[in-house]
């Protein structure tokens, strides 16, 4: 029995508890948080090193589906690794910029957020997924209002309020699923779902739609995207950067449950049917938002929405090829989005100095999906994967890219080029380096696109064939 599977959840949580117990000074807190983020990265690498075969962890040693099971498979490990890779530079940035000292408990909340996200990526139990959603959400609430201020708090109320409605919906969906199928374990659900008697199918469909909407709230899909721009724009820069991965939780969950459970029986093809128009609208809104927004953080927020549109377009296509594109673009947009938020924060705090302008240019290029960074490659993958519906989807994707480029050119040239009244102050070198590190990740994604897509192909195939995942869970037939 390897405890490695649960370690990414426990390590940050225990360290957060430790901070509460012993660490009063910011220095010690920083040390513990850094150790947590670094340790998290190490754990993710260790898990990745095990290969893509799903590994189960039966909590409390109860057999599935009665107890809670965690499963580390290709997709989980990928998400953990991505989280680790984003979290570490963002944490460094937070420290370098002094953001963490602007309020209380930043580091504990940060570590709890890691634990919550890790749990969401690892759990193979539907209700446990809810619990970890709440865990990561509440940590994000705390981080979002970190530093206080009326504007941030008011945006925070909207964020919390909207997501609480989402959480309520999640519970409605889960209760319906349990009432219809009598189980909560995902693998068990996957086996029972296609066997549902006709009389229950309509109710099962309702549950599936509600669940999809929950993930759509997380993934900021139109028309449930409302919470994102205000939240991301009002959140402290590095927190918004970290949030770049929060929307991906919605995509992760949709991929996981879409492939494992819901693309069968009463709901076969249903998610795709709903997701595609929503994703197209999301893409459009993101692009329009980037064009129409006048400040960098809001622009970055809309870019995040647009990127979710692209990711969900691929998710909706529900083919292994499209999944590869979805995953590649998901990784790319997380890193690029995080970098852009950090740049926006740098520019906001320190002014538009040369290095900041260069970083802006690089991250805007990445976000807009232009070469030489990975966004362009992601777009090539994506367009090819969605070839079947080329006229509509290609036009939408390319038009959205165009508007995004235009938007960034407008704000970029106004913000970084226009003769400036006040001279910018030099940005913290470590903060610049942390932002650069995220962009270096994109460079690596570009150069190593071949091996990376090969790996992602393995992940996508793991999704398309759920048998190993189910076998790893080893569910006994219910009851």
């Amino acid at each position: 029995m390897s405890h490695l599977v649960i370690a990414p959840i426990l390590l940050p949580a225990v360290l957060a508890g430790l901070i509460l117990l012993v660490a009063r000074g910011i220095a010690l807190q920083r040390l513990i948080a850094l150790a947590g983020a670094a340790g998290f990265l190490a754990l993710a690498l260790l898990l990745a090193g095990r290969g893509g075969a799903p590994v189960a962890y039966h909590l409390g040693n109860w057999p599935a589906p009665f107890g809670i099971v965690l499963i580390a498979d290709g997709l989980s490990v990928l998400m953990l690794l991505l989280l680790a890779v984003v979290a570490l530079p963002v944490l460094v940035y937070t420290m370098a910029s002094g953001w963490d000292a602007r309020g209380r408990h930043f580091h504990a909340l940060f570590l709890f957020l890691l634990a919550g996200l890790a749990g969401a990526f690892l759990t193979a139990d539907a209700f446990n997924l809810f619990v970890f959603f709440e865990l990561l959400l509440i940590a994000s609430y705390g981080l979002m209002v970190h530093g206080g201020g009326a504007g941030r708090l008011r945006a925070g109320i909207q964020y919390v309020g909207f997501n609480l409605v989402g959480s309520t919906l999640f519970l409605f969906a889960l209760a319906t699923i349990y009432a219809v199928t009598g189980t909560l374990n995902m693998a068990d659900l996957a086996q029972k779902w296609p066997l549902l008697p006709p009389g229950d199918q309509a109710l099962a469909r309702v549950a599936a739609v509600l669940l999809l909407m929950v993930f759509a709230v997380k993934g900021a899909l139109v028309p449930l995207q409302f919470w994102l721009p205000g939240t991301y724009a009002a959140a402290p820069g590095p927190v918004a950067a970290l949030f770049a991965i929060m929307t991906k939780v919605g995509a992760y969950a949709a991929l996981r449950l879409g492939w494992l459970v819901f693309d069968a029986g009463p709901t076969a093809g249903m998610w795709a049917e709903l997701l595609q128009p929503a994703a197209l609208a999301t893409l459009a809104l993101g692009a329009v938002g980037v064009l129409g927004s006048r400040d960098l953080p809001r622009q970055a927020a809309f870019a995040a929405i647009g990127s979710m549109g692209l990711v969900f377009l691929c998710v909706a296509a529900a083919t292994p090829g499209a999944t590869v594109a979805a995953l590649y673009y998901l990784i790319h947009s997380t890193l690029a989005g995080a970098a852009l938020f950090l740049v926006a924060d740098l520019a906001g705090r320190r002014g538009a100095s040369g290095p900041v302008a260069a970083l802006f240019m690089a991250s805007a290029i990445a976000v807009a999906g232009l070469p030489p960074l990975s966004g362009f490659l992601g777009k090539i993958l994506l367009l090819q994967a969605l070839e079947a519906q080329a006229p509509l989807i290609w036009s939408a994707v390319l038009l959205a890219s165009f508007l995004t480029i235009l938007g960034f050119a407008l704000t970029g040239s106004a913000r970084f080029w226009k003769a400036r009244g006040t001279a910018p102050t030099a940005a913290e070198p470590l903060a610049l380096a942390a932002t650069g590190l995220l962009l270096a990740g994109l460079v690596a994604m570009t150069l190593l696109a071949g091996p990376l897509t090969l790996w992602l192909k393995g992940v996508a195939e793991g999704l398309a064939d759920p048998a190993p995942y189910i076998a790893a869970t080893a569910p006994q037939s219910g009851g």
């Binding site: 209700f127 705390g142 504007g151 008011r154 109320i157 909207q158 919390v160 519970l171 400040d295």
Partner: protein, 113 residues
């Protein structure tokens, strides 16, 4: 009794939905509380109704109600309590900071080129 419970859930939901659509923080919080009542009962009834059959193991018991949804409701109650508490504090902070307790942000300052 099924209908009665179903109507109760519906009523609580309706109250909740109406209140979350108000324009001030306090009624929105009340609305979310209503929604959490509604969904807690909803989760509970996903184990169906079995009055008089508590899930306490007893050799003499003729049967048990489904304990799992009850456990889920417990978790949900606690979580929603935590969330509500945070929201209340945020509402206080926003009110003290902004001088009013509106939930809508309309006074968006826009930076020109």
């Amino acid at each position: 009794m099924n209908l009665l419970i179903a109507v109760t859930i519906g009523l609580l939901t309706a109250c909740g939905v109406y209140l979350i659509l108000r324009l001030r923080t306090f009624p929105v919080i009340l609305g979310l509380t209503f929604l959490s009542y509604a969904v807690n009962i909803f989760i509970f009834i996903s184990g169906r109704l079995a009055p008089g059959l508590p899930p306490i193991i007893d050799k003499a018991a003729p049967g048990y109600t489904d304990p799992l949804p009850q456990a889920l409701v417990l978790t949900a109650i606690v979580i929603s309590f935590g969330m509500t508490a945070v929201l209340v504090l945020m509402a206080i902070g926003a009110h003290l900071g902004a001088g009013h307790d509106r939930v809508d942000l309309r006074d968006d300052a826009e930076a020109g080129e």
